[in-house]
Amino acid sequence: MYRYDEFDSRLVNERVEQFRRQTIRRLNGELNEDQFKPLRLMNGLYLQLHAYMLRINVPYGTLSSRQMRQLAHLARTYDKGYGHFTTRQNIQYNWIQLKDVPDALGDLAKVEMHGIQSSGNCIRNVTSDQYAGVAREEIQDPRIYCEIIRQWSTLHPEFSFLPRKFKIAVTGCKQDRAAVKVHDIGLIIRRNNEGNEGFEVVVGGGQGRTPFVGKTIREWLNAEDLLSYLEAILRVYNMSGRRDNKYKARIKILVHQLGIEEFRNQVEKEWQRIRGSQLKLPQAEIDRINNYFAPPQYEKINDQLELLKKQKADSPAFSDWLKTNVSDHKASGYSIANISLKGPDLPPGDITADQMDAVADLADRYSFSEIRINHRQNLVFPHVLQSELIELWGELSNIGLATANIGHVSDMIACPGLDYCALANARSIPIAQEINERFQNMDKVHNIGELTINISGCMNACGHHHVGHIGILGVDKRGKEYYQFTLGGSSDEKASLGDRTGKGFPAEEAADAVETIIKTYLETRNNNERFIDTYRRVGMKPFKVALYDSP
């Protein structure tokens, strides 16, 4: 994992003290809310429906057990004993008090964490593949470049007042688990014929009110040119992105309105000018950061297939968990274990302080003290000995975190919705919980197979509804909550936006509609065809008939 050096630490500590002074000036009346709001937002502090909400960055979704314990400490000391992991691999506290925020940020700085740029019209936390560094087919660990981008974008003097927020995601695999094509910029690490590392650069993707799948602006970018190229894109966007309408201010609209050709030309022109400047990445810096992401000392051991087979036969519940929650690791004898935060008891992505502490202890015992957050609001233990999986599973069961549903129907993405969020039009959590309740039977869940359901409580699409195999959007219709459905969305390497089924359903019928869609799929699929593949094959018609009794 990356560790701060003296420079990184000094910056974060100075920022905490700066915010402390600003908070004091606010509390004693020197600053009014209009003046204070941009300052608090730049440090991740929102005002939501019930209270302030503090969003803390988990850079590219990588956490140490020590950091997780500190997150538990924050939840206990300054909040109501829980936190919420988000679709941007961050954590949010819903009840933090303004007077405590500087202290909370000070505590975080001790474990090399912060909330800088987790809000505001600036470059946000860079996200990545939760299997970074351990996926079998990976070309290079994307976190090296994420960290380089994190530093370059932190308090960037030119790009702190962009037309709108700006999100960058990086993946090192062909298989895209980081949804890079629905980001403002998506970077896909490639290796060319000469064996050099570089990037395919995708631009102008995004969700929200006007969703777009990103377009490739460069098939190949040398690694050393990463920052100059990013700076060129950001400069063109900063100067030409729309500022007259916040719903048209994201880069996706600029790319769409100019067309990718013209946008590319403008970026190229700017890039050629600055390419040779000090923005060129020194190999020494790539190497320095690369060293931090060296793999842990794995035991030299073979895959334990026989052992797992026997354990599976002995315990159907363990077998289920293995099937859905455990993935291949690049080191033989090891596996990647996913921890679902979509159990029946808590809202999607929520975790209590006690669970955080327990997870940290388990990470020390079973995963070289390392934890990941994925954009589907779950946790990951990246390096678990296959021979210890059953023990880990047992321990997770004891703390209610062994739900075997990763990538399945009840592993829903859900934004906080109208239960917490000032922007929401409708609630998300109760709908997600009702759907979860309908799919408690694991045989049923596993029979349905791979399926993503994503729900957002408003057009801003924090719940990624456009790219759920089944997407649900909560709307307010004359003071009542309604839920519109989309089908066929996907955020992987074959990214697609879902199609609207038709008119929405009132809250009490939303879970029924999900059951109807799934029943239709089960009747229509060929053999083990996934939901998304069935939908792509047969289209909307059978689903429409089932939902509305008419095509």
């Binding site: 910056l11 002074r21 003046q35 790009f159 000090q278």
Partner: protein
């Protein structure tokens, strides 16, 4: 309104004519881009120093070939949240090599002075009772920067690897 220049409070030696119909031909004045287009011949023969104010939608490319005529360029921040002029400043300094006074005008917040200074502004019109104190605070808040922006300060990368 106070003018902060190079860390000191200064009396503004220019008269802002950018909002007026006519342009005075004598004295140090600031004109609009519109006036520059209309009175270019007249103004380019002026002996006194000339300033131009660009509105937030007026990119510096518009005056790129005329920079020799201006000893001051004022860039407008219609709202603190409109950050276009940060990029304009960098283009003027880094690309077009402009070395005259670069003044931030409009909704210029104390907390932004440091960012503005880093991208190339050296003068600021601020509404603050104690502009000098504000300047000192703004500049002393942070001492570490990851970016190279042409203001001569070393980035973290340069310090780490001892690169000039």
């Amino acid at each position: 309104m106070t003018l902060l220049k190079n860390g000191k409070i200064e009396k503004d030696s220019y008269v802002d004519c950018s909002g007026k119909e006519d342009v005075a031909t004598a004295g140090q004045i600031i004109i609009s881009y519109k006036q520059w287009v209309a009175y270019r011949d007249l103004l380019s023969k002026k002996n006194d120093r000339l300033g131009i104010k660009l509105l937030s939608h007026e990119k510096p490319d518009l005056i790129a070939t005329d920079l020799e005529y201006f000893s001051l360029i004022a860039l407008e921040f219609p709202s603190f949240a409109d950050g276009r002029a940060y990029s304009y400043a960098r283009l003027l300094r880094d690309h077009y090599g402009y070395s005259g006074e670069l003044r931030a005008v409009g909704d210029v917040l104390l907390e932004q002075l440091h960012f503005m200074q880093r991208v190339g502004f050296d003068a600021f019109e601020v509404e603050n009772d104690d502009a000098l104190e504000a300047w000192k605070t703004a500049l002393s808040d942070l001492s570490v920067w990851y970016q190279t922006t042409g203001d001569g300060r070393s980035s973290v990368m340069q310090l780490r690897h001892k690169i000039d």
